[in-house]
């Protein structure tokens, strides 16, 4: 009888791995298609889409699409801009939103519930609906910089960063996570005379790795994929991000698909790198909070 038991366990293991492999394949195939297509001439690429050849390194393979893509657009500049804008926004967002959440969870102040409700209500407003008033505002905002006082933030890095530092979703994630932290820790720190800033810095944040990773990844993806806002506020090619750069690969009638795939492969690298570096913390966060990325 023990032998039968072992067989069942083995069968279950095989089934589980088969199912997981199937899911993995579904997720990997688009990436595989992108990378393989980036190595093929456009005509072959389109012909291959009719069969499984689309996912295989077969036919006339070369890096020509990559060199053509670099010749067509300043890809390095676009990637640098996106990484800079995204990185700065993510860091500032983590700081500002965690501070806000800290105030919502640990500090007592009147009207907290109402303000938090209003904050959550903004989650249902799509960003696109506020872009026009935001654009008008950004075009008139004052700034004191190297050239002295000036009006208007258009065509700058800051106009791509500042409007997205604070967001309700990140605050909500931090609030949910902070609520589950042991209250005794905070109370003990207060009794020992620690300031709110010290508690935030020394007690709360060191325990918040999973939610920091989750908020960082979600914010990273949102910022890295920005298209409409930078399209509206940036006219200077030298500060354009990657998604607007995708437009360099289409004209009125023709799309050089091989170059498009090469460009997509290049700009996917930072996203994959960022995700993989935070993967473990992100998964533990999803497992513990039930938040879906």
């Amino acid at each position: 009888m023990p032998a039968v038991k072992t067989d069942n366990r083995g069968l279950r293991l095989v089934s589980r791995y088969a199912a997981l492999s199937l899911v993995a394949v579904v997720f990997i195939f688009p990436l595989l298609f992108m990378v393989m297509s980036s190595l093929k001439p456009s005509a072959q690429l389109l012909l291959d889409t009719k069969s499984l050849r689309a996912f295989l390194p077969v036919g006339d393979l070369s890096l020509a699409n990559y060199s053509d893509a670099f010749a067509r657009a300043p890809i390095g500049v676009f990637v640098f801009n996106s990484v800079l804008v995204t990185g700065v926004t993510v860091l500032l967002c983590l700081f500002v939103c965690s501070l806000a959440a800290f105030a919502f969870v640990f500090i007592e102040w009147s009207g907290k519930a109402v303000v938090f409700s209003i904050l959550l209500a903004t989650l249902i407003i799509p960003y696109e609906t506020i872009f026009i008033p935001l654009l008008l505002m950004a075009s008139q905002l004052p700034w004191i910089g190297g050239d002295g006082f000036e009006l208007g933030w258009l065509n700058t890095y800051r106009v791509q960063i500042v409007p997205f530092i604070a967001d309700a979703l990140s605050i909500f994630l931090f609030v949910q996570f902070f609520k589950d932290l042991p209250k005794e820790l905070i109370e003990a720190s207060r009794v020992e005379g620690a300031s709110w800033w010290t508690i935030y810095r020394r007690v709360v944040m060191p325990l918040s790795g999973p939610v920091i990773a989750t908020a960082a990844i979600l914010k990273f993806l949102f910022m890295y994929n920005q298209y409409l806002w930078p399209l509206m506020v940036v006219q200077d090619e030298s500060i354009r991000p990657v998604m607007v750069g995708l437009g360099y690969f289409t004209d009125q009638l023709n799309v050089p698909w091989g170059e498009v795939m090469a460009y997509l492969t290049i700009i996917t690298v930072p996203v994959l790198g960022f995700y993989l570096s935070l993967q473990r913390v992100f998964i533990s966060s999803v497992a513990s909070t039930g938040v879906k990325g």
């Binding site: 012909l47 657009a73 008008l136 200077d236 607007v244």
Partner: protein
């Protein structure tokens, strides 16, 4: 005292600098990443203009075409339009109506002899001028037509509808081709109104009634339009042309590879045909479906933004740009049609006896502008959808009626688009 003298001297130098400094003019151009000679030529034009005088300095800002119109709309909203705008011919009336552009104000004598498609007019005023135009032709091979006893049409005597339909049937019957005709259905968007509305116009219909641009009733759903719609649907139903799911690669190379006997394509795609087939290559006029042989006209043009503080400088740049040597350089570099005879004579392909000379004749004789109305940007999309639906088997009359309703509602909701 020395310090005072130095300060005074510096102030005087600064004042002199302002007095003799160049005024900066911003120029927006749609072709970033176009990977052809056009962007380089625009760059060269700017460099030459800046070197030619000392009052103005043009600064070029390039945008990907996909994002260009949206970027202009956003900039207009924020009051950040540049001095000089690059604008697609059929879009220009919308931008003029919306207050993005001001009349060009250049002496119209300077535009004498330009192809009509290269001049953008709205409400009786010139708002933009193009350094080139484009034309579409029925690409064919002499040997194929002669082998099948099909008459080779001319500008003076294009194919009639009967002749054209018979030619398609004959070519299909040979069994030598996947399809007798390639219309370029793999291309979407502006290709539809640009390439196919001339067929409708030749039938006697149009996208909108051009008498006042206030309705599409009768023009887009009258007898002529329905006749066009039924003919259009038959092309697909009878397997004479590839459908809306045509492979983009086939569009690119199908004619060269012998998959199609005829190809409805633009002059920008003509050189590979000439290189492949030499003297056997033919670029034929559009068939005459009863109201003349028609092709689309107008391409990208330069204009002055309404908010430009230096329209004189912008005008000076545009006048500089339309010199024959630049018109010829753009044509040689891009393969597009130079807008004047004088410039054509300086080009390699469009001079008398040049490989693409025929396109100049086609553009001059047959080009018809797409509806010159701010509402065109909506009408073009409605027309595209209607044609795709009909190609895929939708009821012709119902589809055109629905298109008319949509166009008319748009015109009404925009209070007639300000037509005088």
């Amino acid at each position: 005292m020395n310090k005072l003298c130095n300060a005074t001297a510096l102030a005087l130098i600064a004042c002199a600098g302002i007095a003799h400094g160049e005024t900066e003019l911003r120029l927006w151009y749609h072709g970033a990443g176009s990977a052809n000679a056009e962007e380089k030529l625009v760059n060269q034009l700017v460099v030459d203009f800046n070197a030619s005088q000392s009052d103005y300095k043009v600064v070029l800002e390039t945008f990907p075409q996909l994002a260009y119109n949206d970027a202009v709309g956003a900039a207009a909203l924020a009051g950040e339009l540049p001095d000089i705008l690059d604008v697609d011919g059929p879009i220009m009336p919308n931008w003029a109506w919306a207050g993005y552009m001001q009349p060009l104000g250049i002496d119209e004598a300077a535009l004498e002899g330009f192809l009509p498609g290269a001049i953008g007019r709205w409400n009786g005023k010139v708002y933009s001028v193009g350094l080139w135009d484009a034309a579409v032709a029925m690409t064919a091979r002499r040997s194929v037509l002669e082998a099948n006893d099909i008459r080779i049409p001319t500008l003076a005597e294009p194919w009639t509808r009967v002749e054209f339909d018979a030619a398609l049937a004959t070519l299909k019957a040979t069994g030598d081709y996947d399809y007798p005709l390639d219309l370029g259905m793999a291309w979407k968007g502006e290709w539809y109104p640009y390439a196919f509305s001339p067929f409708l116009q030749s039938f006697g219909g149009d996208i909108v009634d051009r008498a006042a641009y206030q309705t599409a009733e009768e023009t887009l759903n009258g007898d002529a339009a329905i006749a066009f719609g039924e003919w259009w649907q038959d092309l697909f139903a009878k397997g004479l042309v590839p459908g809306t799911s045509q492979d983009a690669a086939d569009r690119e190379t199908g004619f060269l590879e012998g998959k199609y006997a005829l190809s409805w394509n633009g002059n920008w795609a003509a050189m590979p045909v000439v290189e492949r087939f030499g003297d056997d290559a033919l670029f034929l006029p559009a068939p005459d479906f009863g109201n003349g042989s028609v092709i689309g006209g107008a391409s990208w043009q330069f204009g002055i933004s309404a908010s430009s503080a230096h329209p004189d400088g912008a005008r000076e740049f545009i006048e500089f740009a339309i010199q024959p040597k630049y018109l010829a350089a753009f044509s040689d570099g891009t393969g597009l049609i130079p807008p004047t005879v004088e410039a054509a004579a300086e080009t390699a392909n469009y001079k008398a006896g040049g490989a693409l000379e025929v396109f100049y004749g086609l553009s001059e004789a047959q080009a018809k502008l797409r509806p010159v109305t701010p509402g065109y940007i909506v009408q073009a999309k409605v027309f595209e959808k209607a044609l795709a639906d009909i190609a895929n088997g939708a009821d012709v009359a119902d589809t055109l009626d629905a298109a008319v309703d949509e166009i008319n509602e748009d015109i009404q909701s925009n209070q007639g688009y300000g037509h005088n």
